[in-house]
Structure formats: C-alpha cells, structure tokens
Amino acid sequence: MPTKSATDDRLSKFKNKGKEPSKLRERRIAECVELRKAAKNENFLKRRNISTLPEDAVQSPEFNTDNHEVTVTTIEEVVGHVNSDCKERQTRGCQAARKLLSRERNPPLKEIVEAGLLSRFVEFLGRDDDPSLQFEAAWALTNIASGTSWHTQQVVEHGAVPAFISLLASPMLHISEQAVWALGNIAGDGPAYRDTLIECNVIPALLSRITPDTPVGYLRNLTWTLSNLCRNKNPFPPLSAVQQVLPSLLQLLHLSDQDVLSDACWAVSYLTDGANDRIDIVVQTGIVPRLVALMAFEALTVVTPALRSIGNIVSGSDIQTQVAIDAGVLSVLPSLMRHSKPSVQKEAAWAVSNIAAGPAQQIQQMLTCGLLPPLIDLLRNGDFKTQREAVWAITNFTSGGTVEQVIQLVQSGGLEAILNLLTVKDSKTILVILDAISNLFMAAEKMGETDKLCLLVEELGGLDKIEMLQNHENDTVYRTAQGLIEKFFTDEEAEGLQTEATDTTLAFKTQDVQKTFRF
C-alpha cells in the first residue's frame, strides 16, 4: 500500500512551501555588504611585528650599544647605510628601518617604499652568510607587507615571495619564523596573493616546519599564516591546497595552546564557509567531534571560531548536519545560547536556525536535547541580532516540524515570543515571523484546531499586532499580514465566477465535432 512517505511528499507540496531547506540555509552566504564596524572578535588579516624584542639584546650585544643611536636615524641615513657595500652599515641601516617600521604610531611604510629600499631588502633575504641582516630585512619587509594592499603589492612585486619561501628553510628558527609571518601578511591580502603563494608551493614548505619540537611561539605564527592561506572566497583556495593543509590543521587542533587552537579553528571556519562540497572535505577528515569539544572551551578566542565552523557545517546538507549532531553539538549549544556574550548567543542561534531547517528527525533531536527553552529565552531576552536568528530558527522549525513538534513549540511559549517580536523595526524579521504564523496555522488546519489557534493568537495580543501590520509601509509585509487576517480571522470568503456569453436562457448543448477523449 502506498503509505510509505505519503506525508513527507505532501508536506513539500503545501502552499507557501516553496522554500526548500537548502534555500533557507543559504542566508549567510548571500549577505556581503556591511554597514557595521568590522566585527571585533574576528581574526586579523595582517599583523605588524611591533615587539620590542628583548632578544635583541641577548642575540648580539653590539646592537645594544647603538640602539639608542638608531632610533633617531633619519630615512636618508637609512638609505645611505642600506645602499652601502659595508656589511655593518647594511645591517645597521636595516635595523634602523625595522625599528622605524615597528614604532607604535605612524610607521613610515610609504616613505621606506618610496625611498626605493625594497629591492635591497629582498636581496638581503638571500644573504645566508649574514643571518642578522637576513633577519632585519625580513622583519622590515614583514611590517611593510602588513600595510595596505598597495604596500603588500610593493613587497610582492619586488620578488619577496620566492625569497621568503626559501627562507622558511633557514636553520635559524627566528629567521624562519619571521618569514612565516611575512608570508602570512601576503596571504592575508586577498585571494590573488594567497593563490600566488600556493602556486609557489608555500604549503609544503610551511608544513615541513611542524615537528614535535617546534616551539609554541613559532607554531602560533605558522598556524595564523595557514589560516590566511585558507581564508577568502571568490575564489576559494584551490581544493588541492585545502587537501594539503587539512591533515596538519587536524594535528594543530589537538594541541593545547589557546592561540594555536584559535587560529586553527579560524582556518576551519574559512574552509567550511562555502558550498556543501567544501564543507564535505572538512567533514570527511573526522574533525567535527574535536570542533564540538572546542565549542565548550573556556576561552572566547577558541569558542568563537569553533562555533562559527560548526555553524557553517550545519548550514550544509542534512548528512553533514547529522555528523555534527552525532558529535554532540546539541548538548553544547544550550550553554552557548546562554553565554554571557551576545555575539556568542547570536552565532549559536544561527547554528540552531540551520539545524531547525533540517528534517523532522533532526528537529526531534533538538527537542530531546532541550534546545527549545534556551531558544525561546533568546527570543524574549536576547539582543536584536540574536532575536533575529532565533526567529529564523522558529520559522524553520515550523516549516519542517511535525504537527506534534509544532504543538510542543507553541506550548513552550514559542508562539507568544514571536508574536511579541512583531513590533520589531526590521521588515524582514517581521515577514519571517508571519511565515512562522502561517506555518502554525497550516498545522492547526490539519488538526482541525484553527479556531483554537485564532483565539490563542488573539489572547497573546498577536491579532492586534498583525492588524497593525496591515498599515506597514513594506508592501510584502502588509500583504502577508492582510493575507493571514483574511484567511484565518474573517468568516467568509468570496468566490469567483467565469462568465460566458448567454442570451435569454443558459444554453445546454455540446459541440458537434468531438475529438477522442484522453485524460
């Protein structure tokens, strides 16, 4: 008998049911333009090395003596030193330049570039005979590359990329590390230079430096550079590069250093911020349980990117989402939804909204793991951005949930919470809420409980609010509100009639020529 998935088939045929889960899940990808300040807890694209280096003193006492002198060196003097043939002057000049570039305020990036020093610095990178010079040049170039795109471009166009990649192999750890940093800045400039680096085989060169003995400071820089190599879309990094990086990322994710973990998570978050095939590559590595564990980490710098990565993964296919669920994401999310930081609450609500866009069994798992109470709390008390994500979660829930699940949602206060939000100052959110209400009515119709739901909506003050929305300035909002009122809150509806030509009485006759009937 055709009982099988008759109900499931039918669900997708309902009116207003054009939104397939996959469409609901594309939301974050589509939004690009930002009016806000760049998010404060996101990762840096480029960094300048402004450390005062206590090692300076330790490494070579001779620098120490003229340290004071160098700080007051002018650019003209630097040019003179750097362009001289004297090794000492070269080193002194380079160091003076590095110090200028490392000062806290207004480093003279542009001036140094315009003084024509870059080709010299790049040349010095190859001076294996003089590690100090190599180091100072590398540092200076690192800081120039940390500037605007134009600055980075100057560094690259002077041939620094192959030079830095060779330098990675330097036996002197601090020099190699500086090269890692410089390459990170270049990779962070954008997809073009990122791919230039990848084509120059930067990845194997970097990965070969990861050993059990690598100091943690070095690993931090390296992880950050790797994360920049994974970063940026349009286009994404080549698949082959991703495949190369992933095993090492996995390894780094199992270390305990907070900074390494943070950047490794950011790297994963970039890799998962894409279409399902991109997500799949990451999920295949078996990394998901570790990410879920890191979501429960204490440090916000780790929690944020881990949550973002998982959020990306659950925006993927049902199967990918299931991997995250099996890894226990649903038991971690409630505490993140109650996190003290609104930004974490928001990200958690976003993840929940995407899980709620899944099939009824996944919604059931959400219910079992107790996600509904914190979700409804967020609708009531979260900040606006969080409320907006939570509203999506409710709408997705109501569109994919079974009648029983939807009832549970209403009984837990979900309806009241979304009705209260109908006065928010955001047209899209209002529309999403109206969608949820309409979904609830469809569930009620199936149970023959429409009248009951009407009363409940009215009691909760929702009817007043929906009626007010009939004056909303946004066309779609007011039409949708009107539609709800007409369909569920008024008694009778008009019917249409197709009129035909007639005379005194209506004709009853069939056409003479009759084709064969086929139905």
């Binding site: 009116k15 008390n381 100052k425 009778e492 008009a494 249409g496 009639l497 035909e500 209506l506 069939t510």
Partner: protein, 971 residues
C-alpha cells in the same frame, strides 16, 4: 518644441485653462497638454515656466504639472519606449536641485517630490553627483535652502526604514553614509549652536527647529537597517545632543494651539523614536546612554500637559518606557519603590484620565467612541500607551504596581463618593485603571481570559459596578454607566454566574438609555453574555433563567432601534439575533408581532442598504424566527411566506443586489420546511431563477444553487410534469457552472440533485450530453477540485442507475472509456475525495462497480478489478490525500474577473447535510464484504484467485477484517 517665448506663451494659456472650473474649458486644455508631453523640451518648458513666469498661480501650476509628468513618465519600463528624451533627462537632473532650492516653499515641495521620484529610479548609479550637490548646500548658511535639501534627502532615504535588506540597498546606504553622514553631523552641531545664539529670535528658531526635526528624521532613516560605523563612532555627539534637546524648553516655541503639535513636540517625538530604535536594535552599543534617556523621557512625561497636541509625543514617550522596562537588564532602573510610585502617579494615572475630547466624542460621535473604546482602534491614544506601560511594568513588578494602584483606585473612588456630580471622572479613571491592571489576555469571543490574581474583580463588581447599574435613573452619569456595562462585558468570563444573572435585567433596563454609547454597550454586553458556554457546551445562561425577563428584553431591544441614532444599530440587531437563538421556543408567542417589525425594518433598509452588518443580522433574525416557529409547527410556514413574499418580490424586482443572495437563502429555508409538494407560488418563480443575468453575479451562485436544489428535492416530479420545457435551461445552468474552475463544484451539487430527484425518464435524453460535457472539461482543464466532484457524481450515478448503466453510457461515448476513467481517474485519485457523505457515495458506487458489473469480470477490464478494490480499501483506511498540485493554488483568485459582492452565508439559514444513500447502507465496509460474498458465490473461485494474485498484503488483511465483521466468507 523649441524653448521660445511663443511656446511659453501657449503653454501659459493652456495651463491657465486647466484651472478653469468649467469642464468644457478645462478638459480640452488637459487633453492638449497630455498630447504634447511626449515632445522633447516639454519638461524644460515647464521648468522655465515655473522659474520665470510672472504669475505665481502659473508657476505653482507648472510645478504641479511637472511633478505629475515626472511621476507618470520617468520610469523606464522594459520593452516600452523611453518616454523622456535623454537630453531632457540630463538637463532636468542638472538643474532641478538648484531650481528647487531657489524656489518659494510651495514650488520647492513639488520639485522636492519630483527629485525623490527621479532619485528612486536614477540614484545613485545614474545620478552620482546628486548627493554631493546637495551636501555642498549645507555650507550656504541659508536655512531655507538647507531645509529644502534636508526635505529632499528625507524623501530619498525614508524607504530605508521599511525595505528588506539586500546588497543593492546596503551599497546605496553605504554610499550615502560616505558622502552624507559627516556633513549631516556637522550641520546638526552647527544648528544646535545657532539655536543657542538665536534663543530669543522666534523666527530664526522656527526655521532651525524644523531643520533639527528633519535632521532627526534623517538620523532615523540612516540608522534603521543597521548601526553604521560612522554613527557608532559619533554616538556621543548625537546622543548627548538628542538628550539635551529632550530636556530643552523654550517659551517662544510653545504654541497656543491645543490640537496641532508644535515644533518642539515634533522634534521630541522624533527623538523618542530614535532612542527607541537604538534601544531595540543596538542595545549593546546604546547601553551607556539608555539610563539618561529613561530619566529624560520620564521627566518629559511628568511635565507635559493634557492637550491633544501632545498626544503623539506622550504616546511615543510612554511606549519607549514600556519597551525598556520589560527588558531584564534594565529592570533595575525601575525597581525602586519611589520610582515605581512616581511612574504610576505621574505618568500612568494622568494619562488615563477622561479628557474633554473624550467627553465630546462620547456625546457627539458615538460611532467613533465605540470603535476606539470597544474595538481597540485606540492604538495611538494615551490611554492605550498607559495600559501598555502597566502591562510592561507588571512583567517584573506585578505585586508592587498592583499595590500602588490599589491605593490610587481607593482614593479616586473616595473623591467620587464625596461629590459624584463633580468628581465622576475620578471614578471613570478608577475603573479604567482596574481594567488595565487586571487584564492579562483578552479575546473578542471570550472577553478577558486571564486576569491579574491580585485584583479582586468580584468585590469591585459588587461594590462599585453593580451600584451604578442599579441606579434608578439610567440617564444619569452615562459615561459611568457605559463603564459599568463594559466592565461586565469584558470580565464576563471571570465573574461568577450568579453575578452575571444579577446583571442581566439591569442591562436590559439600560437598553432604554438615551445615550447611544450606553444602550449600544448594553446590547453588546447582552449579546456577548448570551454566547457564553456553560458545562456540556450548552449556553451558560439558559432560556429558563431568562424567562422572567424575556418580554422586557424583546421589548427593549426593539424599542432601542427606535432611539435617535440607532435605527440601524448593528449591535442591537445582533443582540436581537442572539436573543432569538438563545430563547428558542420561548419566542414563539412573540413572533407574530415581531415578524411584522422585522419585515417593516427590512422594507425600510432595502431602499438604501448602507449598514451591511445590520442587514446581515436582520436576515439572520428572520431565519431564526422561521426555524424556531416552524420547528414547533410546520404549518406556520405559510404565514411567513405571506409576510415576507411581498417584500422579497420588491427586492427581486428592484434588484437590490446586496439583498438578493439573502432572499434566496431565506426562500430555500422556507421551501425546505414544506412537507408536501411544492406550492404554486414557488413554481411561478422557477423560470425566473434560470435567467442568465442572475447567474452573472458571484454572490448569487451559492444561494441560487441551493434554492434550485430545494426545488428539485421538493418538486422534481412537478418540474418534470409541468415545466419540462425548462429542463434544458436548468441543464444550461449546470453547463455554465462546470465550465468555471471556481464554480464547478456548484454545478455538481446541482447535477447530483437532478440525478437524485428527477424522474429517470425526464432526463434520459440528456444523459449522454451531460457526460460529454464533463469529459470535455476533464480533457481541457483537469483540476483536483473538479476530479473530486466528478468521482462523487459518477458513483452517485452508479448507485442510482446501477453499475452496468454507468459502464454502458461511458463505453457508448467512446470505446474503452469506462476502463480509462477507472484507470486514469478513479484508481489514482479516489484517495482525495473529502467529506464523509462523499466518501460513502464513492465507496458504495465502487462496490457496485466491483460486484455488479459483469464487464469488470469478463472483459479486459478485469485487470482493473484488483487495483480498484485496493483503491477502495485505501479510501477506507488511509488518511485523506489533501495535497494540491502547485499550479492549482491560485485558481480561485485568477478565476475571479474582478471584485463582486461577496456571498454572505446566513448561519441560521444553514442546510442539514444530505446523505442520498442514507440508512440503506450504514457501513460501506460491511456492504463491500457482503457484495463480494455474493459475487463469489455466483462464480466460485474467481474472487479468491483475483485477490491472491495481486492484492497487497496489508489491504488483504483489512479485507479479511471486513469479511469477519460481516460474518461471510469468499468461495
């Protein structure tokens, strides 16, 4: 069209003529202007005219003409010709901003509108320098120009407040922010400084304050979608200035006008909105400023007067506090007992007072008063805002707030008691306060459904409400009487029954009050009480309990209709309907008098129907009179016909469109009551019902079909014998209806009645044609609704004439037709049939096809036998398939050719569900079992073998169950 003096002169003349009051002069001039507007330079000529004409009237006229021209023509629609030449477009854009800014205000407004229309199409891509051009004017120092720029900017940007987020929109906003945000901020600061230097110059202040209001509006638009980086960085500047402006007062800017809001009010109102926007959307960033705003807004409320001009400001301000006090992390701002007391005392109570404006409405504009007070169209009123604040505060502080207010309520009642004649408004405020404090959830159907447990509603009712209701003079203190009646009405679900019963006769007495509001409320309260349900779903108040008051109730209701201003009072008419429905047999003895009054009323309103609700309840009351009386004694139906037919005839003859569908429904009701054959009076009307013009109106179709069904049921034989020539016309109606996707089901209702009630021989000659029409429709546009009705029809046909007849007529139209219909329609779709009677008809029909149609056993149709049986078992056992193909969702809408009067179904003219099969078959499953048994004994072995080869296991199991229940076996 060249730009020369001659053309300008001509244009001026025609322009002048368009202002002529005489249409014979005006119309041709308008036509002429329309005919030349396609010419190049036409808009430039208009601009020249509005700039240079000596005549001010012509200048304004040119400006308006220009704006309308832009509105009609600027948008370039794909695949349509560009209606304005490119050089003209460029010239307009190059000059219009300047022109607007240098024009006097009347013209400036028109041009500003034109700019925003153009801007909506061209900005930013095709008009990149618009903003920079505007921004440079900020430096002009001329606030006439600056306000022009600000107004234009406002009309360009205000759409950011309601449009959906999109990359395109946000790119535009970003661009606007880059050029506009900083100059706007500088202008804001400069304007505030100027306000200080010109603090004593009223004319300067007026202009500066309009600028500030416009700037604040722009702030709202630019900050609406998200918090822009610029404004986050400059929050201190904006918010501290907003805060200062909120607390500012300047005697010079206070206006004498009581109604119209002044500049100060408008500005502060907008600032409240801005603060509310930030509090709602950018809580994290706004938190440091919020407490200051709460204090400022609250002080503002305390110091603002009762005049109507402050209403918007006050309600915005209160709404701000209401939204903040519900948020958990601001709870502490309100927690302090003194704060709470102060808010209650100084903000809430004063705004709940009954003002002179309310009093005027109560006396002179009762409809408006009722709408606001009863139906909740009081969204922007102070009372509503104050109520919302009470509710907001109760979220965290229900106990303290209730305690504070109890004190107030007592003191206000005390004031009233001292001198009711002077202090009655105190009692009104007290009742309002109790109501807003006590009500936590409310519906129109049940009144207040959830109340604050800390308020003793019953005690208040006994001590303060009942006393007013009991007062001998119903016309004394009408506002307090109305309050008391409303109290009973809205708390009806909360008050004990004995108190409601105590109130009923008092309410009945108040139906006689002179005040329209008062007697309307009394009618409404009674109507609501009569709908209340008690245990067992019977009415809470029983007819027996009403017996002592029945006569008084009916008398007073009908007398109230005679009170001035209430001759078509829908609340009273609804109360009449509800009383009839409650009292049932108890009204029978009054009906002979009442029906006369109702008919008289009907005759009056049919001259000019203007109150649809009143009319609807009037017809409902008529239906109830008929039903109730005829239930007791069917022979009385004649007396109703006697009373009503003259009015009905008049309505039909005068074609009172609003009433015709009602008349058909009442006639159906009357006809259905007849037990013997159809009276001649009805047969005389029969030919008229088939008139095509009646069937053109959407609203007529359902009641007319129902009426024809009643004719067929009562007079099928009469029609066949004495009106046989009308049968083609009847079938013509059927043909028209089934051609429409929206009405095809009505066509089937009619045909089913024809099949069921007409003598076989009278329609035998039309049968083939009927089927051909249905097949044609099936072929041309097959919809789910049609298929469902079609299946019911063919099965009914089979039940009536036998399965063989069904099969033969199909196959006579086209060979193998019967098999095709079974295979393509019945088997796959029968699961969609809805309704218990419809399902039963299909079940019995299919059973007959399976067991009484030899062709199903002997011919190639045999292969369909098991699938058909399986489909039948599916119909019995599976959930109904209510899916609808995607392309059918909007049929009803598309099919409606335009707005037509909707059909208003009379609830009390309702028709009982008709089961054409009836008790003959009580359980179709048993019938199937018995029929299969019979078939199997006729040809032993066949049935079990067909079952075992292809019926699926689950279905077989169900079938076994039926056989067992029927105690039969298959052989």
């Amino acid at each position: 069209m060249e730009i020369n003096d001659g053309n300008l002169q001509t244009l001026t003349e025609f322009m002048r003529k368009t202002l002529d009051p005489d249409p014979s002069v005006r119309r041709p001039a308008e036509k002429f202007l329309e005919s030349v507007e396609g010419n190049q330079n036409y808009p430039i000529l208009l601009l020249t005219l509005l700039e240079k004409s000596q005549d001010n009237v012509i200048r304004v006229c040119a400006a308006v003409t220009f704006k309308n021209y832009i509105k009609r023509n600027w948008r370039i629609i794909e695949d349509e010709p560009n209606k304005i030449s490119d050089p003209d477009r460029t010239t307009i854009k190059a000059n219009i901003v300047n022109l607007m800014l240098s024009s006097p205000e009347q013209i400036q407004k028109q041009l500003s509108d034109a700019i925003s229309i153009i801007g909506r199409e061209d900005f930013p891509l095709k008009w990149p320098d618009l903003l920079t051009e505007m921004v440079t004017r900020f430096q002009s120092g001329d606030f006439h120009i600056i306000n022009g720029v600000l107004r234009t900017a406002h009309s360009l940007f205000k759409r950011y407040r309601h449009e959906f987020k999109s990359n395109e929109l946000w790119l535009e906003i970003k661009l606007v922010l880059d050029t506009f945000a900083n100059p706007l901020t500088e202008l804001f600061k400069a304007t505030i400084e100027l306000c200080q230097t010109h603090a004593t110059d009223i004319n300067a202040l007026k202009i500066l304050f309009s600028s500030l209001t416009l700037i604040s509006k722009l702030f709202y638009s630019l900050n609406f979608q998200d918090l822009p980086e610029f404004f986050e960085d400059n929050m201190e500047t904006w918010m501290s200035n907003f805060h200062n402006l909120l607390t500012l007062d300047n005697k010079l800017l206070q206006t004498d006008d009581e109604e119209e809001a002044g500049l100060l009010e408008l500005l502060k109102s907008q600032i409240c909105d801005n603060a509310a926007l930030y509090a709602q959307k950018y809580d994290e960033e706004f938190q440091p400023y919020l407490p200051r705003f709460v204090t400022a807004i609250w002080n503002l409320l305390v110091s603002t007067g009762q005049e109507v001009k402050y209403d918007l400001l006050v309600s915005n301000a209160i709404q701000f506090l209401a939204s903040v006090c519900e948020r958990p992390h601001y709870k502490h701002l309100f927690e302090d007992q003194n704060t709470l007391t102060s808010i209650c005392e100084k903000v809430i109570v004063p705004n709940m007072e009954f003002r002179s404006a309310d009093e005027e409405a109560f006396e002179d504009n009762s409809e408006e008063y009722i709408r606001r007070d009863l139906e909740g169209s009081d969204i922007d009123t102070r009372r509503r805002a104050a109520c919302d604040l009470v509710r907001g505060l109760c979220k965290f502080f229900e106990g303290p707030v209730t305690a504070i207010f109890s004190g107030y309520v007592n003191s206000m009642l005390g004031e009233y008691a001292k001198n009711p004649g002077v202090n009655w408004k105190h009692k009104d405020a007290a009742i309002y306060l109790v109501t807003s404090l006590a009500s936590k959830a409310q519906t129109a159907k049940h009144g207040i459904t959830q109340a604050n447990e800390l308020v003793n509603l019953t005690e208040f009712f006994v001590n303060h409400i009942l006393t007013d209701l009991k007062s001998q003079n119903v016309n004394e203190f009408p506002v307090l009487k109305a309050d008391a009646i409303k109290y009973v009405m809205i708390f009806r679900s909360q008050l004990p029954k004995e108190q409601l019963l105590q109130a009923v006769p008092l309410l009945v007495a108040h139906l006689q009050a002179e005040s329209t509001v008062e007697h309307t409320y009394a009618a409404h309260a009674l109507e609501r009480l009569f709908t209340m349900r008690g245990p067992n779903n019977s009415t809470l108040i029983t007819p027996a309990e009403m017996a002592p008051f029945t006569e008084q109730l009916l008398n007073n209701l009908f007398k109230a209709l005679a009170l001035p201003g209430s001759s078509e009072n829908e609340y009273i008419m609804k109360a009449i309907m509800r009383s009839f429905s409650l009292l049932q047999e108890a009204i029978v003895s009054y009906i002979p008098t009442l029906i006369g009054q109702l008919t008289h009323k009907l005759l009056l309103v049919s001259k000019n129907p203007s109150k649809p609700h009143f009319n609807h309840y009037l017809f409902e009351s008529l239906c109830l009179s008929i039903r109730i009386t005829c239930k007791a004694n069917t022979t009385t139906v004649g007396s109703f016909e006697e009373a009503l037919f003259p009015v009905f005839t008049e309505i039909l003859q005068n074609d009172v469109q609003e009433f015709v569908p009602y008349v058909f429904q009442v006639m159906s009701l009357l006809l259905e009551i007849h037990t013997s054959s159809i009276p001649n009076s009805y047969m005389a009307l029969f030919p008229h019902l088939l008139q095509p013009v009646l069937w053109e109106r959407t609203g007529n179709i359902p009641p007319l079909v129902r009426l024809l069904q009643a004719y067929l049921e009562k007079g099928g034989a009469t029609i066949a014998s004495s009106a046989a020539d009308k049968i083609p016309g009847l079938l013509g109606v059927f043909q028209k209806l089934i051609a429409s996707k929206a009405n095809d089901h009505q066509g089937f209702y009619l045909m089913n009645s024809i099949i069921e009630h007409m003598p076989t021989e009278s329609i035998v000659q039309y049968r083939k044609q009927i089927f051909i029409l249905l097949f044609q429709r099936l072929q041309s546009s097959k919809t789910t609704k049609f298929i469902k009705s079609f299946m019911v029809f063919i099965n009914l046909y089979g039940v009536k004439y036998g399965a063989i007849a069904l099969q033969e007529i199909f196959d006579s139209i086209q060979p193998k037709m019967f098999g095709m219909v079974l295979e393509k329609i019945v088997i796959p779709e029968v699961q969609k049939v809805s309704g218990p009677v419809e399902k039963k008809i299909c079940a019995v029909g299919i059973t007959k096809i399976l067991t009484e149609c030899p062709a199903m056993i002997d011919t190639e149709y045999t292969k369909l036998w098991t699938p058909l049986l399986q489909a039948l078992i599916g119909l019995f056992e599976l959930p109904e398939d209510d899916s609808i193909p995607d392309d059918e969702h909007f049929i009803d809408i598309e099919d409606t050719p335009g707005y037509q009067t909707a059909f208003s179904q009379l609830a009390f003219a309702g028709k009982k569900e008709h089961d054409p099969i009836g008790e003959v078959v009580s359980n179709p499953k048993i019938l199937l079992a018995q029929s299969l048994h019979k078939l199997s004994t006729a040809c032993p072995g066949r049935v079990p073998s067909m079952l075992s080869t292809s019926l699926n296991a689950e279905a077989l199991q169900y079938l076994q169950g039926y056989l067992q229940a029927a105690s039969v076996q298959l052989v």
